[in-house]
Symmetry: C2
Subunit: 126 residues, 2 copies
DNA sequence: TGATCACATGCGCACTTTCTCATATGTTGT
DNA sequence: ACAACATATGAGAAAGTGCGCATGTGATCA
């Protein structure tokens, strides 16, 4: 990132279509199981069986999740004999994962932010 | 970001707890409505009413979504008179939004990747 | 004080996810 | 061709999500 000015890249508004597309990708990431699968693949390709064990998922659940990840090109499959080895689709994926993790690390978990009852900074009027 | 080497930040495996926390944040982002809300706030704070109109949502839906976003500190609320103005929680949020959008722009949408039937790179045996 | 505005919130329901079970499909060795 | 293996897939149950509706709460104005 060049330099953090006020609002650059992300400042543009989002039309309905793009919002839907982005949400689709994010939904794929928004699951503990799939996140674990993706991070497991960060270190290199793995067979479905190996992934299942590494992530504590059943073979079936793993396969279902991989199908989803495949459909939006977050992972790719390569067959070798009986097994199928999965890998992150390209270098953008680990970058995205890093960005997400980075954001998470800078977030304080304690206060649930219960919307302060009377918090007004004094009625500026109008 | 320092420099994009092979695998740095994101390469570490994800324990179950962290996966769950990350997924919680991502679930909040994985909704067209909430994405639109967040991007609308990229240009500055807005009242609930203004947000609702900008995003094509009802007052109720907007409020429900804002509550969720608040609970995980993606937005913050400030009261001024009768209205409540929302803003992105901090500078990390637009950065994350930018990262997500960036990833999305580098993704080709056409092929649904139907898992090539016979795609083996030749049985390497083993 | 009462009316009205701006927003929050509980409930309920339609819709979606995620996982398990059972079974189908593609692969290898005999 | 058959048995064993590795993965994919469909159906369905349980749990979670998104939003409308009705109503509650805090703030302003007359």
């Amino acid at each position: 990132m060049p330099h953090p000015s006020e609002h650059d890249e992300a400042a543009r508004a989002l039309d309905v279509d793009e919002a839907a597309e982005l949400a689709e990708t994010l939904k794929a990431l928004a699951s503990p199981s799939r996140l674990r699968v993706l991070y497991a693949l960060s270190s290199g390709e793995l067979s479905v069986e190996a992934l299942a064990e590494a992530c504590g998922l059943s073979q079936s659940a793993t396969s279902h999740n991989l199908r989803l990840l495949r459909s939006i090109k977050l992972v790719r499959a390569r067959r070798d004999g009986r097994r199928v080895f999965y890998a992150l689709y390209d270098h953008h994926v680990p970058e995205l994962l890093a960005a997400i993790r980075h954001h998470h690390e800078h977030l304080a978990p304690p206060a649930p932010t219960p919307l302060p009852a009377t918090l007004a900074g004094r009625p500026t009027r109008r």
